[in-house]
Every structure is written in structure tokens, then in C-alpha cells.
């Protein structure tokens, strides 16, 4: 039996176990239920609420009624739930040629609400014994309403079943269209469906699965062709360090206050105080780490890299211009060319990413020098991606990325590192340097 159906799936090395048919059926069933619930709710709201409301507004005939009674109607609910209310009026009116009486009348939906005060304010707007316009159903003159109009909440809440229909129906159609399809056919169908509205030439990409590199070429340089954008990772590191520092220390501070208060009251809790020590030490370490990051961010001036051409091609030499600002006493300043492989994988419910550096080459180094205030250090060097090296590659779970890294060591300060992403294209015939 287990050979016929595998109800769950495991990744075993490069292959997966499990039945695709059972998986597709389960997914189709799940989204089918979504779709049916959406359709049922939508049908109920249209038939029971929207359609009567539309008829009351468009088809009911107007007449005059005399209000003979009014009250706050209430509905018994299950134990523990709040009581529901609605305005209820007793009317005398004339319809279809004869006098009629109706009780429990207000609007066509007859819905209850938990807002008792709102219901009471509606009741107070009408006086017993007075005449009011009312509207009756020509198909059933006994059906009469005292107010008409469209309920905005009703049409807004139609979006809820509509979203169930769209999500459930869309995915169910997708599953049925892909039923028993091979993974190649699924891939082709998915590619055909994935229209990239922002990239008109996506279908004619010269280098599929290679980043287009437009982010690297949209800023012209002052010395060379392009100024490379700095990777955003540094900013995120700073933000993460700040968030961790604040949250951790706020939590620890709360406990410290409790311990200090107990000591002040003469009832010290030494076990808690000792337990708190490693956490407080962690907080101090976070403060130091965050301070170092701040020091790097504010103490080291901006780093600028410009490149003579982009994207790069393996085997071709490129000129790089380096500019480092700030009043710094440098122990060393280096430019590295590096290549990383990045693999993202699922382990249970976790998504993990592993990065492996597979190539690193120092293109430039300068040691023991000073950068005066207002006069940035500037230098040029040459970079060359090795001939035959792998190009930049980007897919959903796997990536090969190239970057230029500026590493600096300022005397008396923590080392700093700034990354600049570059794109390497595959070398085509005629582009290789012999």
C-alpha cells in the first residue's frame, strides 16, 4: 500500500518521496472547500440581504402609515453571548386597496445589532400616532418597511466571501489544470502564466537567470562609468543591533528594578539576582556591540566605489576607483573581489539559508596611512573575474553572487567592511581574453 500512496513527503537527498496525485488532490480539496464556503456565504448574503434591499429601494411602492407602537426588539442568544437588539414598529397603512396592519417593522434586512443605544436612538426618532411614509412589496403587500437605503457594510462585507471565491477557485483551477502534469509541464505552464508587467522584455532575456544589473548602472560615477551602490546589509545590521539592544536591555532592566526594590525593602532575592547576572552581561555585550556599529557607521566616512564598465565578463580587466572619506588613521584598507553561493532550504517548518564563499581575491591593499579631514583617500586598482568563472546566477532557492568588498581597519577602532554587489555575465564567444 505504501508503494501506491505516500501521504506525506520527505526530501531524501536530491529526490522527494510522496504521491503527487494525493498531494494535488489534498490541495484541490482544501481550496475547493474554500471556494464552496465562499460561494455559499456569497449566495446567502445576496439572496437574504442584498436582493431584498435592492427590491425595497427599486420595486417597493410608497404609501403612508400611522405609527401605532414602537419598542426595542431583542433576540435570545446562546448563554454567554450578548443580547441582540433591533427597532420594531407597529404600523397601520393602506396597500393594494385595503387597510392593513403590520408589527415588528423597520427595514428590509430585519437584522439585529448588539448596539442597544443605537437602536434606542432610532426608536426615539419616531413618534406614536404620527404619519410617516412607508414602502410595501407589491408582490406581498403585507411586507412593509419604514426606512429604505443601501447598507454600506453589506457591500463591504461581500469582499470576504469574494476573497474566498477568488483564492479558493483560482487555486482549485490551478490544481485541476496541473492535475497529473509532469514537473516539466507544470514549469512551462507556470512560466506562461507568470507575466512580468514591469519587465517587458522578460521573455526575450539575453541571459536567463542572471540579474539584469540595472541597479548597478543607474548611477553614473565621477571618475569612472558607474558608481556602485552599497549593499543594504550594513544598515540592517545596525538596525537589528539597535532593536536587539533595546529589547533585551528593557527586559533585563525590568528584572533589575525588581531585584533592587527587593534589596531596598530589606527582602533581597539573591537567587534571582544571581540568575540575572548572565543576562545583564549579555545586555552589556549588546550595548558594546551596538556602540561599535555606531562608531563604524558615524566614525568612518562614506566609502565610494566606481567601476569602468558593468556587467563584468570573466577574463576581462576592469578599473575600479576607491574613495574613502573621514579623518582616519588607517592600519589597512583593502578591496576584495568575492563570489558567494547561497542556498535556501526548508527544514521542517523553518526556512534556512546557507552562504558559502567560493572565491576571494584581494585586488588592492594600502597599509599604515592617514586620511585627513576633508580630503578623501582616492586610489585606483584593477579587478578581473577569473576566466571561465561562474557567472552571477539567481533563482528562487539558489544564487551565485559576485561582490566587491572594501575592508578597513582604523587604529583603535573596530574593523569595518562594506559590500558592493556586481553582476558577472557568462563570457560569450569573442568576449574571452586569450
Amino acid at each position: 500500500m505504501s508503494r501506491l500512496f505516500r501521504l506525506y513527503e520527505k526530501k531524501r537527498g536530491g529526490r522527494r518521496t510522496g504521491s503527487k496525485t494525493v498531494g494535488s488532490f489534498g490541495e484541490a480539496l482544501f481550496f475547493g472547500i474554500f471556494f464552496v464556503v465562499g460561494c455559499g456565504t456569497m449566495a446567502y448574503m445576496l439572496v437574504a440581504l442584498a436582493w431584498p434591499e435592492w427590491r425595497a429601494n427599486r420595486q417597493f411602492e410608497e404609501t403612508t402609515c400611522v405609527l401605532v407602537g414602537k419598542r426595542v426588539g431583542s433576540k435570545e442568544t446562546a448563554e454567554g453571548e450578548p443580547v441582540q437588539f433591533r427597532p420594531e414598529f407597529a404600523l397601520k397603512y393602506e396597500a393594494a386597496g385595503r387597510a392593513r396592519e403590520a408589527d415588528g417593522v423597520y427595514d428590509v434586512t430585519n437584522l439585529y445589532s448588539s448596539d442597544e443605544a443605537g437602536v434606542k436612538s432610532v426608536i426615539e426618532q419616531f413618534e406614536v400616532g404620527k404619519k410617516y411614509p412607508c414602502w410595501y412589496d407589491p408582490l406581498d403587500p403585507q411586507r412593509v418597511v419604514l426606512v429604505r437605503g443601501y447598507s454600506l457594510w453589506l457591500y463591504v462585507s461581500l469582499l470576504i466571501p469574494l476573497s474566498f471565491i477568488v483564492i479558493g477557485g483560482g487555486r482549485m483551477i490551478y490544481e485541476l489544470a496541473h492535475w497529473n502534469a509532469s514537473e516539466e509541464r507544470r514549469s512551462v505552464l507556470d512560466s506562461a502564466a507568470a507575466v512580468d508587467w514591469f519587465e517587458a522584455e522578460a521573455g526575450e532575456r539575453h541571459f536567463p537567470n542572471v540579474p539584469d544589473g540595472s541597479n548597478q548602472t543607474n548611477s553614473p560615477g565621477t571618475k569612472l562609468a558607474y558608481r556602485l551602490p552599497i549593499s543594504a546589509t550594513f544598515g540592517w545590521t545596525l538596525f537589528a543591533a539597535m532593536a536587539a539592544c533595546i529589547l533585551w536591555n528593557a527586559l533585563v532592566a525590568g528584572f533589575v528594578v525588581m531585584v533592587v526594590r527587593d534589596i531596598a525593602l530589606g527582602e533581597p532575592d539573591w537567587v534571582m539576582a544571581l540568575t540575572l547576572l548572565p543576562f545583564a552581561a549579555g545586555g552589556v555585550w549588546l550595548i558594546v556591540y551596538f556602540s561599535r556599529q555606531i562608531l563604524v557607521a558615524t566614525g568612518v566616512g562614506p566609502t565610494r566605489l566606481e567601476i569602468s564598465d558593468h556587467p563584468l565578463v570573466p577574463g576581462m580587466p576592469y578599473e575600479v576607483f576607491l574613495s574613502q572619506a573621514g579623518r582616519l588613521n588607517m592600519r589597512s584598507l583593502e578591496v576584495w573581489l568575492a563570489c558567494d553561493e547561497r542556498a535556501t532550504y526548508h527544514q521542517g517548518t523553518d526556512t534556512r539559508t546557507e552562504i558559502r564563499r567560493v572565491y576571494e581575491y584581494r585586488c588592492f591593499v594600502r597599509e599604515d596611512f592617514e586620511i585627513p579631514q576633508g580630503l578623501p583617500f582616492e586610489s585606483r586598482c584593477q579587478v578581473q573575474v577569473p576566466e571561465g568563472a561562474m557567472h552571477s546566477f539567481l533563482a528562487i532557492y539558489n544564487e551565485v553572487s559576485w561582490k566587491l568588498i572594501v575592508r578597513g581597519h582604523v587604529k583603535g577602532r573596530p574593523k569595518f567592511e562594506r559590500e558592493f554587489q556586481i553582476v558577472v555575465h557568462p563570457a560569450l564567444a569573442g568576449q574571452l581574453v586569450s
Binding site: 536530491g14 541571459f207 553561493e341 542556498a343 567560493v358 528562487i396 532557492y397 551565485v400
Partner: protein, 133 residues
């Protein structure tokens, strides 16, 4: 009657291609009657192996459906050919590997499926450790 067998061969025995080069080959089925075949799919594709979850993309795809197409006798060798793209090149990295292959699947009316795959190399990227570090 012999068991059904699917044969797939590339014209280039070295199975190494440059970007933009023409990949050509042929395939045929043996030990099967034409009316038993529901469909045959021919794909030229790449997929990843290694640490990460699998990425895959199909460069060339053809589905031969005997019900819809003219009478097709897949016991006779049938040609396939496509011009290969510029990327991604075959790659044998440390945690990311990119493999190219030609894959043919035959689907039968009784539900079974037969597949044949021939891997090939696109480009000549050396392993990363061969690069100077």
C-alpha cells in the same frame, strides 16, 4: 512481447555544448503499441542540486499527443533540436550545482510512465576550488 523501452540519444557524443549552440538528438519507443501511448513530452531543462531546495526551468518543451496530433508512430526515431540559451551555465559549486539535461517522458493509457534522461554540459565553468583564491 518485450518490456516497453524508451531510448534517447544526442547527436553530440561528448555532450558538451556552448551557449547558443544547437542541441540535437533523437528518441524512440520499443516494445509498445502506438495505441497504448497517451502522450510523450520532450524537455530540455536545467535544475539545481545541492544544499538548497530545487530550482528548475524548462528551456524547450514539446508535448506529442497522439489523440490530437496526426498519427504518430513513436517507434520510429523522432528528432528533437533546440538552440541552447546563454545561461545558466552548468555549474558544480560547493553548495549550488546546476545540471542541464534532455528528458523524455512517455505516458501510457494504463497509467504507467516511462522516462529517459541524458545529462549534458552547457559551457565549461570549472569547479570553484579550481579558481585561484
Amino acid at each position: 512481447m518485450m518490456d516497453p523501452r524508451l531510448s534517447l540519444m544526442l547527436d553530440e557524443p561528448q555532450r558538451t555544448f556552448r551557449p547558443g549552440e544547437l542541441l540535437a538528438g533523437q528518441f524512440f519507443l520499443e516494445g509498445v503499441r502506438p495505441e497504448e501511448i497517451r502522450a510523450v513530452e520532450v524537455s530540455v531543462l536545467w535544475h539545481t542540486e545541492g544544499k538548497g531546495d530545487e530550482d528548475m526551468a524548462v528551456h524547450f518543451f514539446e508535448r506529442i499527443d497522439p489523440d490530437l496530433d496526426d498519427v504518430v508512430d513513436l517507434r520510429q526515431p523522432r528528432r528533437l533540436s533546440t538552440v541552447l540559451p546563454n545561461s545558466p551555465l552548468s555549474y558544480h559549486g560547493q553548495i549550488v550545482k546546476i545540471r542541464w539535461c534532455v528528458r523524455v517522458r512517455a505516458f501510457f493509457w494504463h497509467g504507467k510512465e516511462l522516462a529517459a534522461e541524458v545529462p549534458f554540459q552547457l559551457g565549461a565553468v570549472p569547479r570553484p576550488q579550481e579558481a585561484p583564491v
